[in-house]
Symmetry: C2
């Protein structure tokens, strides 16, 4: 974080912001102009003190009786996350996951726009997938610089992950959204966020395995 | 966790297991039979004491000079996670993300097999997407029970998330892999794991925004 603000936001709070946003949009759709902190907390199964603290990060504070005004709060959350501006991104690795993400419309809600896909495989270069052109990976550095693209989405096979990361960093990409299971090495001026679908499934399958084991054991499941 | 074992594994350690697995498979491909803890730690930018502790959860302990035997360690990690058995899953919600996940071949590495997709939308029912049949959501309860499917992958729009979850739970689904931004309500005998792509992108975009702000500020970026 930088010297002049010294601000640093707690990660779990940041991670909850899209949940608030999604709920606030639901509230707006129902035509309501205000919502209380308690109401948000109940709906999202959170503690209301936590909700108040989280939302205060955006600079908006609720009023004692009416709570939050929905529309300004939505705008404040989007501004806080930087989702009110479009973020152009390049995606590298058009395998089955990359192809999938190229077609995922939900990214628009985050202000994320994938403007092209990149590949090494000659048979994929030149294709158009979900309306997006697939270009030769070798053209990425020039294009990223010319178009000031700051976000790279990494969906290559694990073995290629670091090499492609180095290419992205060299091309001026500042933020890498990493869908590979690889721990990437980047300079301090570049941020990486790992999605780790495998890690998430590891937790799910281990918990399921334990649940089933418990029920089969002579002692039976514990009572919560 | 159940009475007879009392075991509970630290989540960050569980989440690292797929990373070990992926690296161990790379080592195996290079034809090596053994690998040291230090070597694994260096490659994955982890602390070697942590690596030793994590891998000990599988019941395998490295030897002082040779380290770990690669093949038995791979098997032990897969068994620990339950990835040596196939996990059949149903996916509900064949929008752009659901469609994507139906075609993602990487799931095979986790032993995860999506056997069908389910939809409410009449125009999607009956289609075959990436070799998988799209069925009427109303047939899910009967099929889940008959086929003993325990895993449900949730890729519906946010507004439908809780309703479909209730349907899955009623159908005997024990583990829900939640790709929606909704906090789901489930009974204690059901496990939920959230992927939260939006939360991950929130962290990435906020960090990027801060990085850029810092550099534009008169003070300039801080030195790490």
């Amino acid at each position: 974080m930088c010297d002049d603000t010294g601000k640093s936001y707690p990660l779990p709070s940041v991670r909850r912001m899209p949940m608030y946003l999604q709920y606030l949009k639901q509230v707006r759709e129902r035509g309501r102009c205000c919502v209380s902190c308690t109401h948000i907390a109940e709906h999202l199964h959170l503690n209301s003190i936590q909700v108040r603290k989280d939302l205060a990060m955006t600079g908006i504070v609720g009023r004692p009786k009416t709570g939050y005004e929905v529309e300004p709060l939505i705008e404040a959350v989007e501004e806080f996350l930087g989702w009110n501006n479009t973020h152009d991104a390049f995606l590298v690795g058009v395998g089955s996951l990359g192809r999938a993400l190229l077609g995922y419309e939900g990214f628009h809600e985050y202000g994320l726009e994938i403007i092209a896909g990149f590949e090494k495989a000659v048979d994929k270069i030149g294709q158009t997938i979900h309306g997006k052109e697939i270009l030769d990976i070798e053209t990425l550095p020039g294009l990223a610089r010319r178009m000031h693209v700051q976000i790279g989405i990494l969906t290559v096979p694990a073995q290629a992950a670091q090499e492609v990361t180095d290419l992205m960093v060299g091309a001026g990409i500042r933020a890498i959204w990493n869908y590979t299971p690889v721990q990437l090495d980047v300079p301090p001026a570049v941020v990486v966020e790992d999605v780790r679908m495998a890690a998430s499934f590891a937790v799910l399958s281990l918990r399921l395995t334990e649940l089933v084991k418990c029920e089969k054991s002579p002692v039976g499941p514990s009572v919560d």
